[in-house]
Protein backbone atom coordinates (compact mmCIF):
# COMPACT_ATOMS: atom_id res chain seq x y z
CA UNK A 1 0.00 0.00 0.00
CA UNK A 2 1.42 3.38 -1.02
CA UNK A 3 0.77 6.05 1.59
CA UNK A 4 1.37 9.77 1.76
CA UNK A 5 1.21 12.45 4.42
CA UNK A 6 0.11 15.88 3.22
CA UNK A 7 2.06 18.85 4.53
CA UNK A 8 0.76 22.44 4.80
CA UNK A 9 2.11 23.70 1.46
CA UNK A 10 0.23 21.00 -0.46
CA UNK A 11 -2.91 21.59 1.63
CA UNK A 12 -2.72 25.29 0.78
CA UNK A 13 -2.35 24.60 -2.92
CA UNK A 14 -5.35 22.28 -2.75
CA UNK A 15 -7.54 24.84 -1.02
CA UNK A 16 -6.59 28.33 -2.16
CA UNK A 17 -4.80 28.14 -5.47
CA UNK A 18 -6.39 28.68 -8.87
CA UNK A 19 -8.38 25.86 -10.45
CA UNK A 20 -5.58 24.22 -12.44
CA UNK A 21 -3.30 23.89 -9.41
CA UNK A 22 -6.10 22.52 -7.22
CA UNK A 23 -6.84 19.93 -9.88
CA UNK A 24 -3.14 18.99 -10.07
CA UNK A 25 -3.02 18.47 -6.29
CA UNK A 26 -6.06 16.21 -6.32
CA UNK A 27 -4.66 14.23 -9.24
CA UNK A 28 -1.40 13.79 -7.33
CA UNK A 29 -3.17 12.57 -4.21
CA UNK A 30 -5.10 10.00 -6.21
CA UNK A 31 -1.81 8.23 -6.99
CA UNK A 32 -1.67 7.03 -3.39
CA UNK A 33 -3.71 4.26 -1.81
CA UNK A 34 -4.04 6.20 1.39
CA UNK A 35 -3.41 9.85 2.27
CA UNK A 36 -3.20 11.44 5.70
CA UNK A 37 -3.48 15.01 6.88
CA UNK A 38 -2.32 15.96 10.39
CA UNK A 39 -4.70 18.38 12.09
CA UNK A 40 -1.59 20.49 12.73
CA UNK A 41 -1.48 21.27 8.97
CA UNK A 42 -4.97 22.79 9.20
CA UNK A 43 -3.82 24.90 12.18
CA UNK A 44 -0.77 26.08 10.24
CA UNK A 45 -2.90 26.75 7.15
CA UNK A 46 -5.35 28.89 9.11
CA UNK A 47 -2.62 30.84 10.91
CA UNK A 48 -0.63 31.42 7.72
CA UNK A 49 -1.98 31.48 4.16
CA UNK A 50 -5.68 31.65 5.08
CA UNK A 51 -5.11 34.49 7.51
CA UNK A 52 -3.12 36.40 4.87
CA UNK A 53 -5.95 35.95 2.35
CA UNK A 54 -8.47 37.15 4.93
CA UNK A 55 -6.22 40.13 5.63
CA UNK A 56 -6.29 41.13 1.97
CA UNK A 57 -10.05 40.59 1.82
CA UNK A 58 -10.53 42.89 4.78
CA UNK A 59 -8.31 45.48 3.09
CA UNK A 60 -10.52 45.41 0.01
CA UNK A 61 -13.60 45.87 2.20
CA UNK A 62 -12.05 48.64 4.27
CA UNK A 63 -10.60 50.64 1.39
CA UNK A 64 -13.10 49.88 -1.36
CA UNK A 65 -10.13 50.21 -3.70
CA UNK A 66 -8.08 47.55 -5.42
CA UNK A 67 -5.17 49.96 -5.86
CA UNK A 68 -5.10 50.81 -2.14
CA UNK A 69 -5.31 47.20 -1.09
CA UNK A 70 -2.44 46.33 -3.42
CA UNK A 71 -0.45 49.24 -2.05
CA UNK A 72 -1.03 47.90 1.46
CA UNK A 73 0.17 44.47 0.33
CA UNK A 74 3.38 45.98 -1.02
CA UNK A 75 4.02 47.50 2.41
CA UNK A 76 3.66 44.16 4.18
CA UNK A 77 6.75 42.04 4.63
CA UNK A 78 5.45 39.18 2.49
CA UNK A 79 7.45 37.71 -0.34
CA UNK A 80 5.67 35.80 -3.11
CA UNK A 81 6.42 32.10 -3.03
CA UNK A 82 7.15 31.41 -6.68
CA UNK A 83 7.69 34.82 -8.24
CA UNK A 84 9.63 37.92 -7.36
CA UNK A 85 7.66 40.80 -5.90
CA UNK A 86 8.29 42.81 -9.05
CA UNK A 87 6.95 40.01 -11.25
CA UNK A 88 3.86 39.59 -9.13
CA UNK A 89 3.20 43.31 -9.09
CA UNK A 90 3.63 43.58 -12.85
CA UNK A 91 1.27 40.65 -13.42
CA UNK A 92 -1.35 42.17 -11.16
CA UNK A 93 -1.09 45.53 -12.91
CA UNK A 94 -1.42 43.87 -16.32
CA UNK A 95 -4.50 42.01 -15.10
CA UNK A 96 -5.96 45.26 -13.82
CA UNK A 97 -5.36 46.92 -17.18
CA UNK A 98 -7.13 44.01 -18.89
CA UNK A 99 -10.08 44.44 -16.57
CA UNK A 100 -9.98 48.13 -17.26
CA UNK A 101 -10.42 47.49 -20.98
CA UNK A 102 -14.04 47.23 -20.05
CA UNK A 103 -14.85 50.90 -19.88
CA UNK A 104 -16.38 52.58 -16.88
CA UNK A 105 -19.45 53.15 -19.00
CA UNK A 106 -20.03 49.43 -19.33
CA UNK A 107 -20.31 49.14 -15.56
CA UNK A 108 -22.64 52.04 -15.05
CA UNK A 109 -26.35 51.81 -14.84
CA UNK A 110 -28.96 54.41 -14.11
CA UNK A 111 -28.89 53.17 -10.55
CA UNK A 112 -25.13 53.19 -10.21
CA UNK A 113 -23.76 56.01 -12.33
CA UNK A 114 -20.55 56.72 -10.43
CA UNK A 115 -18.60 53.51 -10.23
CA UNK A 116 -14.89 53.55 -10.99
CA UNK A 117 -12.88 50.76 -12.56
CA UNK A 118 -10.83 50.54 -9.35
CA UNK A 119 -13.97 49.99 -7.28
CA UNK A 120 -15.30 47.42 -9.73
CA UNK A 121 -11.99 45.56 -9.66
CA UNK A 122 -11.99 45.74 -5.86
CA UNK A 123 -15.42 44.14 -5.75
CA UNK A 124 -14.47 41.47 -8.29
CA UNK A 125 -11.48 40.36 -6.21
CA UNK A 126 -13.42 40.62 -2.97
CA UNK A 127 -16.15 38.31 -4.20
CA UNK A 128 -13.72 35.79 -5.67
CA UNK A 129 -11.70 35.70 -2.46
CA UNK A 130 -14.81 35.27 -0.34
CA UNK A 131 -15.83 32.26 -2.42
CA UNK A 132 -12.38 30.77 -1.97
CA UNK A 133 -12.33 31.37 1.80
CA UNK A 134 -15.61 29.50 2.07
CA UNK A 135 -14.46 26.69 -0.21
CA UNK A 136 -11.13 26.34 1.55
CA UNK A 137 -12.72 25.93 4.96
CA UNK A 138 -15.45 23.63 3.66
CA UNK A 139 -12.97 21.29 1.94
CA UNK A 140 -10.09 21.33 4.43
CA UNK A 141 -10.92 17.91 5.89
CA UNK A 142 -12.10 16.25 2.68
CA UNK A 143 -8.89 16.07 0.67
CA UNK A 144 -7.28 13.04 2.28
CA UNK A 145 -8.34 9.54 3.28
CA UNK A 146 -8.17 10.55 6.92
CA UNK A 147 -7.16 13.21 9.41
CA UNK A 148 -4.51 12.11 11.91
CA UNK A 149 -3.32 13.45 15.26
CA UNK A 150 -6.25 15.64 16.15
CA UNK A 151 -5.41 18.56 18.42
CA UNK A 152 -7.42 18.60 21.64
CA UNK A 153 -5.49 21.74 22.60
CA UNK A 154 -6.75 23.74 19.59
CA UNK A 155 -10.22 24.98 18.58
CA UNK A 156 -10.62 24.64 14.83
CA UNK A 157 -13.18 27.38 14.27
CA UNK A 158 -14.25 28.72 10.87
CA UNK A 159 -13.49 32.28 9.79
CA UNK A 160 -16.52 34.41 10.63
CA UNK A 161 -17.75 37.46 8.75
CA UNK A 162 -18.76 40.27 11.11
CA UNK A 163 -21.52 42.80 10.52
CA UNK A 164 -18.86 45.21 9.33
CA UNK A 165 -18.17 42.85 6.44
CA UNK A 166 -14.72 42.06 7.79
CA UNK A 167 -13.69 38.50 8.51
CA UNK A 168 -12.42 37.38 11.88
CA UNK A 169 -10.00 34.47 11.65
CA UNK A 170 -9.46 33.30 15.20
CA UNK A 171 -8.19 31.45 17.07
CA UNK A 172 -4.83 30.77 15.45
CA UNK A 173 -3.12 29.56 18.63
CA UNK A 174 -3.85 26.75 21.00
CA UNK A 175 -6.34 27.23 23.81
CA UNK A 176 -3.84 26.37 26.49
CA UNK A 177 -3.07 23.35 28.55
CA UNK A 178 -0.68 20.70 27.33
CA UNK A 179 0.34 21.12 23.70
CA UNK A 180 -0.50 17.93 21.83
CA UNK A 181 2.41 18.26 19.41
CA UNK A 182 4.81 18.82 22.31
CA UNK A 183 3.50 15.66 23.93
CA UNK A 184 4.10 13.66 20.74
CA UNK A 185 7.56 15.06 20.07
CA UNK A 186 8.74 14.51 23.63
CA UNK A 187 8.05 10.77 23.45
CA UNK A 188 11.53 10.07 22.05
CA UNK A 189 14.29 12.51 23.11
CA UNK A 190 16.70 11.06 20.52
CA UNK A 191 14.32 12.23 17.81
CA UNK A 192 14.55 15.76 19.18
CA UNK A 193 18.35 15.55 19.01
CA UNK A 194 18.38 14.37 15.42
CA UNK A 195 15.86 16.97 14.33
CA UNK A 196 17.74 19.77 16.04
CA UNK A 197 21.00 18.67 14.43
CA UNK A 198 19.29 18.71 11.03
CA UNK A 199 17.80 22.17 11.66
CA UNK A 200 21.12 23.60 12.89
CA UNK A 201 22.83 22.29 9.74
CA UNK A 202 20.49 24.40 7.58
CA UNK A 203 20.94 28.11 6.78
CA UNK A 204 20.26 30.02 9.97
CA UNK A 205 17.13 31.79 8.94
CA UNK A 206 14.86 33.25 11.61
CA UNK A 207 12.47 30.35 11.04
CA UNK A 208 15.19 27.75 11.60
CA UNK A 209 16.50 29.54 14.67
CA UNK A 210 13.03 29.51 16.21
CA UNK A 211 12.60 25.85 15.31
CA UNK A 212 15.88 24.96 16.96
CA UNK A 213 14.85 26.93 20.05
CA UNK A 214 11.54 25.05 20.26
CA UNK A 215 13.25 21.66 19.94
CA UNK A 216 15.81 22.62 22.59
CA UNK A 217 13.00 23.70 24.92
CA UNK A 218 11.28 20.33 24.55
CA UNK A 219 14.49 18.42 25.19
CA UNK A 220 15.72 20.43 28.17
CA UNK A 221 12.44 21.21 29.92
CA UNK A 222 10.13 18.28 29.16
CA UNK A 223 7.93 18.98 32.13
CA UNK A 224 7.23 22.61 31.19
CA UNK A 225 4.37 23.61 28.94
CA UNK A 226 5.43 24.63 25.47
CA UNK A 227 4.55 28.31 24.83
CA UNK A 228 2.17 28.80 21.90
CA UNK A 229 4.72 30.76 19.87
CA UNK A 230 7.17 27.84 20.12
CA UNK A 231 4.44 25.41 19.10
CA UNK A 232 4.06 27.42 15.91
CA UNK A 233 7.82 27.43 15.49
CA UNK A 234 7.94 23.63 15.45
CA UNK A 235 6.39 23.78 11.97
CA UNK A 236 8.12 21.44 9.55
CA UNK A 237 9.58 19.30 12.33
CA UNK A 238 6.07 18.12 13.21
CA UNK A 239 5.53 16.53 9.81
CA UNK A 240 8.85 14.71 9.94
CA UNK A 241 7.84 13.19 13.29
CA UNK A 242 4.19 12.42 12.49
CA UNK A 243 5.03 10.67 9.24
CA UNK A 244 5.30 6.90 9.69
CA UNK A 245 8.32 5.13 8.15
CA UNK A 246 6.37 3.68 5.23
CA UNK A 247 4.69 7.00 4.38
CA UNK A 248 6.01 9.76 2.09
CA UNK A 249 5.65 13.41 3.07
CA UNK A 250 4.15 15.40 0.20
CA UNK A 251 5.40 18.98 0.20
CA UNK A 252 6.37 21.80 -2.14
CA UNK A 253 8.87 22.99 0.48
CA UNK A 254 11.54 20.36 -0.13
CA UNK A 255 14.29 22.73 0.97
CA UNK A 256 13.13 22.65 4.60
CA UNK A 257 11.22 19.37 4.87
CA UNK A 258 13.61 16.98 3.09
CA UNK A 259 16.53 17.36 5.55
CA UNK A 260 14.23 16.88 8.53
CA UNK A 261 12.63 13.80 6.99
CA UNK A 262 16.06 12.38 6.10
CA UNK A 263 17.26 12.92 9.69
CA UNK A 264 14.56 10.48 10.82
CA UNK A 265 15.03 8.04 7.94
CA UNK A 266 11.87 9.15 6.18
CA UNK A 267 11.05 10.34 2.65
CA UNK A 268 9.70 13.57 1.27
CA UNK A 269 8.72 14.35 -2.29
CA UNK A 270 7.23 17.13 -4.38
CA UNK A 271 3.96 15.71 -5.73
CA UNK A 272 3.62 17.95 -8.82
CA UNK A 273 5.59 20.51 -10.75
CA UNK A 274 4.74 24.18 -10.17
Amino acid sequence: MVKALVETTVLTDALLERREVRAAVKAALRRYDETELPAYAIKEFKAGPLRNVVWFYNKLVATGSYAMALHALQRMSLTPRRYTTATALEALKVAAVEFGRMTVGEFTTQNQPDITIDAALCESYRLAIKVNIRRAWRDRRTLTSRIIHELPCYQELAPVQQESGLFEVKPIDCAGGECEMARVLKQDPSVLDRLRAAVDAQPQTRENQRRSQALRFLKRTPKRELPTNLCRALGDAVFAVLCSPETTILTTNMRDIAPLAAALGKRAERPYSE
Binding site: R18, P80, T109, A120, L127, A128, R135, T205
Partner: protein, 197 residues
Protein backbone atom coordinates in the same frame (compact mmCIF):
# COMPACT_ATOMS: atom_id res chain seq x y z
CA UNK B 1 -33.04 42.72 1.67
CA UNK B 2 -36.01 40.70 0.38
CA UNK B 3 -35.84 36.95 0.63
CA UNK B 4 -36.22 34.53 -2.21
CA UNK B 5 -38.99 35.32 -4.66
CA UNK B 6 -39.93 31.66 -4.92
CA UNK B 7 -43.09 31.93 -2.87
CA UNK B 8 -46.32 30.22 -3.58
CA UNK B 9 -48.55 33.15 -4.18
CA UNK B 10 -51.75 34.32 -5.65
CA UNK B 11 -51.11 37.49 -7.49
CA UNK B 12 -53.73 40.06 -8.02
CA UNK B 13 -52.92 43.09 -10.01
CA UNK B 14 -54.89 46.25 -10.28
CA UNK B 15 -53.30 47.06 -13.60
CA UNK B 16 -49.87 48.00 -14.73
CA UNK B 17 -50.12 51.55 -13.43
CA UNK B 18 -50.64 50.68 -9.79
CA UNK B 19 -48.40 48.73 -7.42
CA UNK B 20 -48.82 44.97 -7.39
CA UNK B 21 -50.74 43.58 -4.48
CA UNK B 22 -50.63 39.97 -3.68
CA UNK B 23 -51.66 37.53 -1.04
CA UNK B 24 -49.22 34.84 -0.06
CA UNK B 25 -50.80 31.44 0.53
CA UNK B 26 -48.48 29.37 2.67
CA UNK B 27 -48.38 25.74 3.74
CA UNK B 28 -48.80 25.11 7.48
CA UNK B 29 -47.05 26.07 9.64
CA UNK B 30 -46.48 29.47 8.07
CA UNK B 31 -42.93 30.76 8.32
CA UNK B 32 -42.20 34.08 10.03
CA UNK B 33 -42.40 37.09 7.71
CA UNK B 34 -38.72 37.88 7.94
CA UNK B 35 -37.54 34.28 7.80
CA UNK B 36 -36.17 33.30 4.40
CA UNK B 37 -37.99 30.35 2.85
CA UNK B 38 -36.05 27.12 2.76
CA UNK B 39 -34.11 26.76 -0.43
CA UNK B 40 -34.67 23.74 -2.62
CA UNK B 41 -32.26 22.88 -5.46
CA UNK B 42 -33.13 24.67 -8.64
CA UNK B 43 -33.50 21.56 -10.74
CA UNK B 44 -35.87 19.67 -8.46
CA UNK B 45 -39.52 19.40 -9.31
CA UNK B 46 -41.57 21.64 -7.05
CA UNK B 47 -44.59 20.28 -5.21
CA UNK B 48 -46.24 23.69 -5.52
CA UNK B 49 -46.54 25.66 -8.70
CA UNK B 50 -43.86 28.26 -9.04
CA UNK B 51 -44.57 31.75 -10.20
CA UNK B 52 -42.28 33.26 -12.80
CA UNK B 53 -40.29 36.19 -11.57
CA UNK B 54 -41.83 38.42 -14.22
CA UNK B 55 -45.29 37.54 -12.87
CA UNK B 56 -44.27 38.14 -9.28
CA UNK B 57 -42.90 41.52 -10.23
CA UNK B 58 -44.95 42.55 -13.26
CA UNK B 59 -44.65 46.27 -12.59
CA UNK B 60 -40.99 47.37 -12.76
CA UNK B 61 -41.76 50.71 -11.14
CA UNK B 62 -42.95 48.88 -8.04
CA UNK B 63 -39.63 47.21 -7.34
CA UNK B 64 -36.15 48.47 -6.64
CA UNK B 65 -34.26 49.96 -9.61
CA UNK B 66 -31.47 47.42 -9.21
CA UNK B 67 -33.89 44.52 -9.28
CA UNK B 68 -35.73 45.93 -12.28
CA UNK B 69 -32.47 46.42 -14.15
CA UNK B 70 -31.20 42.98 -13.17
CA UNK B 71 -34.37 41.26 -14.31
CA UNK B 72 -34.31 43.09 -17.60
CA UNK B 73 -30.67 42.18 -18.21
CA UNK B 74 -31.21 38.59 -17.11
CA UNK B 75 -34.08 38.27 -19.55
CA UNK B 76 -31.79 39.34 -22.37
CA UNK B 77 -28.99 37.13 -21.08
CA UNK B 78 -31.29 34.14 -20.97
CA UNK B 79 -32.36 34.68 -24.57
CA UNK B 80 -28.74 34.93 -25.68
CA UNK B 81 -27.46 31.86 -23.86
CA UNK B 82 -30.43 29.73 -24.88
CA UNK B 83 -29.88 30.79 -28.49
CA UNK B 84 -26.19 29.97 -28.18
CA UNK B 85 -27.01 26.53 -26.86
CA UNK B 86 -29.40 25.75 -29.69
CA UNK B 87 -26.96 27.02 -32.32
CA UNK B 88 -24.06 25.02 -30.95
CA UNK B 89 -26.17 21.90 -30.68
CA UNK B 90 -27.01 22.46 -34.35
CA UNK B 91 -23.33 22.71 -35.23
CA UNK B 92 -23.24 26.48 -35.76
CA UNK B 93 -20.15 27.49 -33.76
CA UNK B 94 -19.95 30.98 -35.21
CA UNK B 95 -23.59 31.67 -34.47
CA UNK B 96 -23.23 30.40 -30.90
CA UNK B 97 -20.18 32.56 -30.32
CA UNK B 98 -21.96 35.60 -31.67
CA UNK B 99 -24.69 35.07 -29.10
CA UNK B 100 -22.26 34.57 -26.20
CA UNK B 101 -20.45 37.70 -27.30
CA UNK B 102 -23.68 39.63 -26.80
CA UNK B 103 -24.13 37.94 -23.44
CA UNK B 104 -20.62 39.02 -22.43
CA UNK B 105 -21.51 42.60 -23.25
CA UNK B 106 -24.39 42.48 -20.73
CA UNK B 107 -22.31 41.17 -17.85
CA UNK B 108 -20.64 44.39 -16.63
CA UNK B 109 -24.07 45.99 -16.20
CA UNK B 110 -25.33 42.87 -14.47
CA UNK B 111 -22.34 43.13 -12.15
CA UNK B 112 -23.36 46.70 -11.44
CA UNK B 113 -26.58 45.34 -9.87
CA UNK B 114 -24.63 43.45 -7.24
CA UNK B 115 -26.20 45.36 -4.36
CA UNK B 116 -29.09 42.90 -4.63
CA UNK B 117 -27.07 40.57 -2.44
CA UNK B 118 -23.86 38.65 -1.99
CA UNK B 119 -25.24 35.62 -3.79
CA UNK B 120 -26.22 37.67 -6.82
CA UNK B 121 -22.94 39.56 -6.74
CA UNK B 122 -20.95 36.33 -6.50
CA UNK B 123 -22.62 34.79 -9.52
CA UNK B 124 -22.54 38.00 -11.58
CA UNK B 125 -18.84 38.29 -10.84
CA UNK B 126 -18.27 34.63 -11.63
CA UNK B 127 -19.99 34.96 -15.00
CA UNK B 128 -18.10 38.14 -15.86
CA UNK B 129 -14.75 36.63 -14.90
CA UNK B 130 -15.24 33.25 -16.52
CA UNK B 131 -16.22 34.64 -19.91
CA UNK B 132 -13.60 37.40 -19.79
CA UNK B 133 -10.93 34.84 -18.92
CA UNK B 134 -11.64 32.95 -22.13
CA UNK B 135 -9.97 35.90 -23.91
CA UNK B 136 -12.23 35.54 -26.92
CA UNK B 137 -12.21 31.74 -27.13
CA UNK B 138 -15.66 30.19 -27.67
CA UNK B 139 -17.53 28.36 -24.94
CA UNK B 140 -18.06 24.65 -25.44
CA UNK B 141 -21.43 23.04 -24.90
CA UNK B 142 -20.86 22.05 -21.28
CA UNK B 143 -19.68 25.57 -20.50
CA UNK B 144 -22.73 27.07 -22.21
CA UNK B 145 -24.94 24.78 -20.14
CA UNK B 146 -23.20 25.77 -16.92
CA UNK B 147 -23.56 29.46 -17.75
CA UNK B 148 -27.20 28.93 -18.70
CA UNK B 149 -27.93 27.28 -15.35
CA UNK B 150 -26.49 30.26 -13.51
CA UNK B 151 -28.43 32.77 -15.62
CA UNK B 152 -31.67 30.88 -15.08
CA UNK B 153 -31.01 30.59 -11.35
CA UNK B 154 -30.52 34.34 -11.06
CA UNK B 155 -33.70 34.98 -13.03
CA UNK B 156 -35.67 32.73 -10.71
CA UNK B 157 -33.87 33.68 -7.51
CA UNK B 158 -32.19 37.07 -7.75
CA UNK B 159 -31.83 36.99 -3.95
CA UNK B 160 -30.06 33.65 -3.98
CA UNK B 161 -27.97 32.98 -0.89
CA UNK B 162 -24.20 33.20 -0.93
CA UNK B 163 -23.87 29.51 -0.06
CA UNK B 164 -26.03 28.39 -2.97
CA UNK B 165 -24.17 30.79 -5.24
CA UNK B 166 -20.87 29.18 -4.21
CA UNK B 167 -22.22 25.78 -5.25
CA UNK B 168 -22.95 27.18 -8.70
CA UNK B 169 -19.51 28.76 -8.88
CA UNK B 170 -18.19 25.23 -8.34
CA UNK B 171 -20.27 24.03 -11.28
CA UNK B 172 -18.82 26.75 -13.53
CA UNK B 173 -15.35 25.57 -12.50
CA UNK B 174 -16.27 21.96 -13.13
CA UNK B 175 -17.07 22.96 -16.72
CA UNK B 176 -13.49 24.19 -17.05
CA UNK B 177 -14.18 27.90 -16.57
CA UNK B 178 -11.95 30.19 -14.51
CA UNK B 179 -14.12 32.21 -12.19
CA UNK B 180 -11.55 34.45 -10.54
CA UNK B 181 -10.28 37.76 -11.96
CA UNK B 182 -7.14 37.56 -14.08
CA UNK B 183 -4.09 37.90 -11.87
CA UNK B 184 -5.69 35.96 -9.00
CA UNK B 185 -2.98 33.29 -9.16
CA UNK B 186 -0.24 35.88 -8.65
CA UNK B 187 -2.17 37.47 -5.80
CA UNK B 188 -2.59 34.17 -3.98
CA UNK B 189 1.08 33.33 -4.51
CA UNK B 190 1.96 36.65 -2.89
CA UNK B 191 -0.42 36.17 0.04
CA UNK B 192 0.83 32.62 0.48
CA UNK B 193 4.34 33.98 0.79
CA UNK B 194 6.52 34.09 3.78
CA UNK B 195 7.77 37.01 5.80
CA UNK B 196 11.46 37.55 5.13
CA UNK B 197 13.64 35.25 7.30
Amino acid sequence: MAGSCRARATVGSRGTESPVSFRIVLPEPPPAVDEPPEHTPADQQQATEQIATEDLYPAPEAISPDLATALRLLGKASSRIQAAMLLLQGGDQVGADLETGHLHALLPQLFACRKLGEGFATLANGLLCCISNLNGAPLNISQIRAVARVVELLRREPFVSFDIACDHIDSLESAGLTVEPAGYGHLIDWLYGQSPS
